[in-house]
Symmetry: C2
Subunit: 277 residues, 2 copies
């Protein structure tokens, strides 16, 4: 940290966040694919493995992290810096803490950009091994501004196996590549349901498309996560499946795979590799 890496692409160097080693964005082309569920459970699983972890809910309009993490206090402010909340060993910041209840936040783009930058840079994250950023769904200008100005180690793209979701996931991969953010991998969420009555597998949203898309786009495939009513219930009740004894194995595996991918990708602060123009 402190030493700027050379910047052959001519872009503005991205200021590192003091104390934060790796920033990982979790994105999706389409909403409702379980992006926040993945971000929350990945953060909790990384903390469970002994790492110092923060989770920034950057979905200003639909911040679901407070509900899923079961916490909704107002953060304290000391000398113009916001103190993150902490739950299940993860430091948290979300618009949902500042605007609880049902009223929508109706802000224009530039204001949104400012508040996310404040969440990244004016929050007392302290020493973190991993800061997970739960992006708003989609590939719009808010997402683009955020990933352009943040020294991301890499990004994870969440999709379901449905063609409609995959169509949007490919857009998300292209968005990250356009601004030279390494895609750590694609996760296929809601891959299949195991019927709780008969135990048979139901391919609710089709099957196999995540792996196929990852191969086609030459992106690492981080695996399948089943459509499990218990995962949804864990989110709705504020007790993420990853903290529940004997139920979080898939997320522990995902956390380990993510750590391995981060090690492959290396130093987060320079332009890592030029994939395309």
């Amino acid at each position: 940290m402190g030493v700027m890496t050379p910047n052959p692409t001519g872009e503005q160097p991205k200021q590192p966040i003091p104390g934060v080693t790796h920033l990982i964005a979790v994105g999706s082309g389409k909403g409702g694919v379980g992006k926040t569920t993945v971000a929350v459970n990945l953060a909790v699983a990384l903390a469970g493995l002994g790492h110092k972890v923060g989770l920034l809910d950057a979905d200003i309009y639909g911040p679901n992290v407070p509900l899923m993490m079961g916490i909704s206090d107002m953060p304290e402010v000391h000398e113009e810096r916001i103190k993150p909340l902490e739950q299940f060993g993860v430091r948290l910041m979300s618009m949902g803490f500042l605007n609880p209840g049902d009223r929508p936040v109706i802000w224009r783009g530039p204001m949104l950009h400012n508040v996310i930058q404040q969440f990244i840079r004016n929050v007392e994250w302290g020493e973190l091994d991993y800061l997970i950023i739960d992006l708003p769904p989609g590939t719009g200008d808010v997402q683009l501004s955020l990933i352009q100005t943040t020294p991301l180690t890499g990004a994870i793209v969440v999709t379901t196996p449905s063609d409609v979701s995959l169509e949007d996931a490919r857009k998300a991969v292209h968005m990250f590549r356009q601004v030279r953010v390494e895609v750590l991998g694609i996760i296929e969420n809601m891959s299949y349901l195991v019927c709780p009555h008969c135990g048979q597998r139901v391919d609710v949203f089709s099957t196999g498309g995540g792996k196929r898309t990852a191969e086609e786009m030459e992106v690492y495939f981080l695996g399948e996560l089943p459509l499990d009513p218990e995962v949804r219930a864990g989110g709705d009740s504020g007790r993420p499946i990853a903290i529940q004894v004997g139920k979080g194995d898939a997320y522990v595996q995902l956390a380990k795979d993510t750590i391995a991918r981060v090690a492959q990708v290396g130093d987060p602060k320079g332009p890592i590799m030029k994939i395309e123009d």
Copy 2:
């Protein structure tokens, strides 16, 4: 049409769209709840009942209507006006026709607003009984600009029964009320899955929350739609379930209920009722 209604709220009157009788927005607080699936099948079902129907895909970043309707041609332009495509008796416009493939559209808010206005006002919709507008998911500034400047008859809010989705659906209802757009009703999509192996019901995303939320918010409840792999497959294959013989009953019922609600709500062009400040 033509005569402006009195405007006691001091807002700009909304210019009607020549030839279009009713504009209905389909929105959701959260993505991935089946908003586009509902919009597509509602449009097709209304056309099947003999009405003249248009469908505008206002989701610029993730336009899934072309895939779901099985059409992706480039629309013709005559004298600076765009001719909509037509499929299954529905006139269609989507950013996906102009930007096919996987590249994301990366535009800022004002540009987005312009393109949606062009889609509403510079497309040769012709005579339509119903123009269905598939909004982008969420409650951001693009959605707000659109519903503030469009003479909507009303809006339909799609949710799943999960608490996370309902949390965002309430925000969407508030958004419509803030700008005095009548909420025609809430639809609970993905209500339950009937296991194709054993025939038993699985409450994948919980159950009953749509009806409960509609009651709490004093919004009409437009009913439950099951999580049916055939509906998803219909969308992925470009053959909406509502055109498939013997399978579209739920959407025919939804179309009839929507028509009834539109009749209750009455004239679309004036400020309809003041629900709250």
